[in-house]
Assembly symmetry: C2
Homo-oligomer: 320 residues x 2
């Protein structure tokens, strides 16, 4: 028994913030932003994550019956309690459907996809709606120009169902976490450690802190090893992969799958120039973009791979 | 293929806050607290959730090999990013083991247990460590005396493995979410909606808000229906259940499983008088307490059931 992706949706907030506008916020030039991050423009949302995710989810559900489970797979929640999945359910009017959240920062979508596969394989659920919605622009720290230049807003949703034919579409899953890299990407506030009501919590504790160059340096080697290990463990060759769908961490991080990963550049889905790094929403947004512009076709072999705060790294090999 | 619970751990912070001390904080009497909530004392932690959870996890891992996955199943995180599982890994020194979080507020543990069952059944992982650690006392709102009187701190951990014999130990799972009850339990701050840096965010937005009487009224009927439905769907009778392990929402909520659920009072694990409502940690703390004092024995049939913010309700029937 396996899974099949049967619905996809995306929400791009209408407001486009070009890098010349972002430049003013962080006191850098447009050229500096583009050369450091590769981000030419990013979206900025004036509606909150629950509404953003619900618009993407409605698209994914079009022509489909309602799901029997909703998983929120975002990086930053709408509020601490309840978890964001509840607000997605409310926006979608899908009363009585169970819902919860999976959080692994930028890898939340991929972890949710793997959990959805397990929940369907174990006959626990039949049709799972995964929604990732992030509004990173709210957490930009102007004193950290590189990460502030990277962040953008967006949402995507994917519907996963039991595969009716006997195909196996979920071929490989691997995840690792190296907690010695926990400080490389942080929003230190919002929880019990630097609680909003704690007088010692500083404003920057509530904003994104990301050491991009150190993550890149560490992740490049880890990604290289993960790719090697994947193709030692599956019946496919690297050349069988139709599309690489990386987390859109930065232009450099995306193109590294060509330079160091050895994949052809035209097989790598790259939306980072137009959307920035949308935290957990980036990977499903890249995927849905390429489905909707007809690059990704039924039967294609997809290789999802990326990093997340932790430092974590994960990949999945999935037939579409 | 099924799962088996092979390790259990608990952390009770050493400081006991008796209700006469809590009474001063909320400007009520000790008698008022005890009559409204049933909580005689609760623990108050001076270490953060990552350290609390790691102490419980070390106990659960004693004499066992390391897990191949760590799931954080807490109600409130240490910080927004990375998710708390990373900090558990760090405290435990379990390098390189994948980890992520599942969030369904007070039901996080039960949802994680169901996901662990699916991940093991689907051969994705073999040995999963679930940790719930909550420090609700940090989020107490003195202007909401009832919920402030209820909250306590604590942590518990459970190790789940593949069952080597061919027994099926995970008999039933059901969850529902009714998002029209989303406002009944909230911490509105800490995310994108009422961001800590937003000047419109009020101090009370960062604290627990819980309408206990309305939740109780709504949940009582829902719990009654869920119990009925459970025993229509399994081969067991209600009388076969060895132990009911409810979320320790309040004394009234726990004893309702006798008054309205029809279970014998001496079969209901009740720790709320001594620990208060420890959010997601409450249910596994009740379970681990009864394992460690030898009430729960191998082969016992356990019925986990409870409510969570959402409003959600879930139950699982599991052999120990």
């Amino acid at each position: 028994m396996s899974i099949k992706i049967t619905g996809t949706g995306i929400y791009l907030p209408p407001y486009i913030e070009e890098s010349k506008e972002t430049a003013k916020l962080i006191n850098k030039s447009e050229d500096w932003i583009i050369s450091k991050t590769g981000v030419i423009e990013r979206r900025k949302s004036d509606i909150d994550v629950d509404k953003m995710g619900a618009i993407a989810a409605e698209q994914a559900l079009e022509g489909n019956n309602p799901p029997d489970l909703i998983i929120n797979a975002s990086g930053v929640p709408k509020q601490t309690i309840p978890d964001t999945s509840v607000f997605f359910q409310k926006e979608l009017g899908l009363k009585n459907i169970p819902c919860f959240s999976i959080h692994g920062t930028c890898l939340s979508f991929l972890i949710a996809l793997n959990n959805a596969n397990a929940l369907i394989q174990s006959n626990t659920y039949n049709k799972i709606l995964i929604i990732s919605a992030d509004r990173g622009t709210i957490g930009r720290n102007p004193k950290e120009p590189e990460s502030a230049a990277l962040l953008g807003d967006g949402a995507a949703a994917v519907l996963v169902e039991k595969e009716k034919n006997n195909y196996n579409n979920f071929h490989y899953w691997k995840m690792n976490t190296w907690s010695d890299g926990a400080e490389l990407t942080e929003v230190r506030g919002g929880g019990t450690s630097k609680h909003p009501q704690n007088p010692n919590t500083k404003p920057e504790d509530n904003l994104f802190s990301m050491d991009g160059p150190s993550i890149y340096k560490s992740a490049r080697k880890k990604a290289y090893k993960m790719v090697l290990e994947t193709f030692k463990n599956v019946e496919f060759e690297k050349s069988n992969v139709s599309w690489i769908i990386p987390h859109q961490a930065s232009e450099k991080a995306v193109t590294a799958y060509h330079e160091y990963g050895g994949f052809e550049p035209n097989k790598i889905i790259n939306i980072v120039n137009k959307t920035g790094n949308c935290v957990a929403a980036s990977m499903p947004m890249a995927f849905v973009t390429a489905v909707h512009d007809d690059r990704i076709k039924q039967g294609d072999l997809l290789y999802f791979i990326g990093t997340g705060a932790g430092l974590s790294m994960a990949c999945a090999l999935v037939s579409y």
